[in-house]
């Protein structure tokens, strides 16, 4: 049997803290490029101005070390834990939450987590939402995705009838975007998962948001649906900031997965243009 590789919990905490800060302050380059392309394509003068302002905003945030958006998100953390890793000095979950606590404090990020009824703020942006997979190998791969409330509120899960098929799925995605309108801070990015179960569709939809904008989907069926959905959604006219325009969506990521013979689950996770995510491999 191969020897286990040891990773200290404190190392995980430090990594998560840094990822929280960097994610909230530095807009990923693929998103910045997509905003530039959108600005060059947009027909609406107001839309072009909005996109130019968003690029300016990203540059100010990076230069002045301010969050891109005051909604620094609920910290969603994806973990791929190699099965030959041994974590020493604390639990994985505690280490991640300690990192969120430290990162949101040290980088002056807004704490946006509260009790659902009393609305009392937990004060340190914990608990994080953690999705862990056990994978082969001796590495620990961490992604921090601060998810804003505005776009999350406009996301939907549908348990469709198999009879509605591909057309029904397309229709529901477009309806979700139309109903959201200006609320989720367009231009948006769509994470779409078809298949699986109720909860798996939602998690898979969120996981697609880790992909780079413009990256090719290796599944040709999903790639074709991505292109078609992007075209359909950009016909809605919602546009940048919802003020009218051609660019409502910067990219669609689709994940297709087998499901029960009775089911056709669909999850549409809407991501605002501040599509923040950072990753590290320990």
């Amino acid at each position: 049997m191969a020897a286990l590789r040891t990773i200290e919990a404190a190392e995980i905490t430090a990594a998560v803290a840094r990822l929280c800060g960097e994610a909230d302050i530095e807009l990923p380059q693929d998103v910045r490029r997509a905003l530039e392309q959108a600005r060059d394509q947009e027909e609406s003068p107001v839309g072009r101005e909005v996109l130019a302002r968003l690029i300016e905003n990203a540059d100010i945030a990076r230069r002045e070390r301010l969050p891109i958006c005051q909604d620094c998100g609920l910290a969603v953390v994806f973990v791929d834990l190699g099965q030959e890793v041994h974590i020493r000095g604390g639990s994985l979950e505690e280490a991640i939450n300690a990192g969120v606590r430290q990162g949101y404090q040290d980088y002056y990020l807004r704490k946006s987590v509260c009790h659902p009824f009393t609305r009392a703020n937990t004060g340190d942006n914990t608990p994080a939402v953690i999705h862990t997979r056990i994978v082969p190998g001796d590495r620990l791969h961490l992604w921090v995705v601060p998810k804003g409330g505005g776009s999350e509120n406009m996301s939907r899960v549908f348990l469709l009838t198999p009879a509605v098929g591909l057309e029904g799925v397309k229709q529901k995605v477009v309806e979700t975007v139309e109903a959201a309108g200006p609320n989720p801070c367009p231009p948006i990015i769509l994470g779409v998962a078809v298949g699986g179960t109720f909860e798996q569709a939602a998690v898979r939809a969120k996981r697609t948001l880790l992909r780079e904008l413009g990256s090719a989907n290796p599944d040709p069926e999903a790639a074709a649906l991505e292109a078609e959905l992007l075209e359909l959604v950009n016909r809605t006219g919602i546009g940048p900031a919802g003020l009218g325009g051609r660019v409502t969506c910067l990219g669609v990521f689709v994940d297709i997965h087998p499901c029960h013979i009775a089911s056709l689950p669909l999850a549409v996770n809407i991501q605002c243009h501040a599509a923040r995510h950072k990753e590290v491999v320990l």
Partner: protein, 184 residues
């Protein structure tokens, strides 16, 4: 595109009525912040017959929960939050003299009706441009509900805050008009 209209609160009915959906506005002067929890408390206070934390007549409210100010700064990132969550409370504040709301996203029919009836407007700031918006905020002070943290009511002094009129007093709605123009 037309020249922006410069406004300094408190705003009058005439100033507000002169605005049309799609107009650009630059606000300078004193405005107040409030979002979900603060709205609930303000309206509950009014229902009990108590005074609101600031004078509502002519006031401008900004739906924002800023991030904490790093050392040497007045405020952190400070872009608008989604406005519909304040819809249950907005008509009460509008009836009490609130003249403008700043946020992002659609408003409900009750709020649009109250805006027409009592002469108030809804202005959009660019959602997700928190670092940019912070630049026009020159002063910030918590004046009520400090226990709410980012949701506390703040008095802000702003300079040339760039906004666009979404809902005017005649029922104009830029979100609907803008979308119709580019829909295919």
């Amino acid at each position: 595109m037309s020249q922006p209209v410069r406004l300094t609160p408190p705003l009058s009915d005439e100033q507000v009525a002169a605005l049309t959906a799609g107009d650009r506005v630059l606000i300078s002067g004193t405005i107040y912040t409030g979002r979900d929890a603060a709205h609930k408390r303000m309206v509950e206070a009014l229902d009990r017959g108590e005074d609101p934390p600031f004078e509502l007549a002519g006031a401008v409210i900004y739906y924002v929960g800023p991030s904490p100010p790093p050392p040497g700064r007045v405020i952190g990132a400070a872009g608008p939050t989604t406005s519909y969550r304040m819809d249950p409370y907005a008509p009460t504040l509008i009836a009490r003299g609130l003249k403008a709301m700043i946020g992002k996203g659609k408003r409900g029919e009750e709020v649009k009706k109250a805006m027409q009836e009592h002469k108030a407007v809804y202005l959009a700031a660019i959602g997700g441009a928190g670092a940019l918006m912070a630049r026009c905020i020159k002063q910030a002070e918590v004046i009520a509900y400090p226990d709410l943290g980012p949701e506390a009511v703040r008095r802000l002094v702003v300079e040339d805050m760039p906004l666009i009129v979404v809902n005017d007093v005649r029922g104009g709605d830029l979100y609907q008009e803008g979308r119709r123009r580019y829909q295919r």
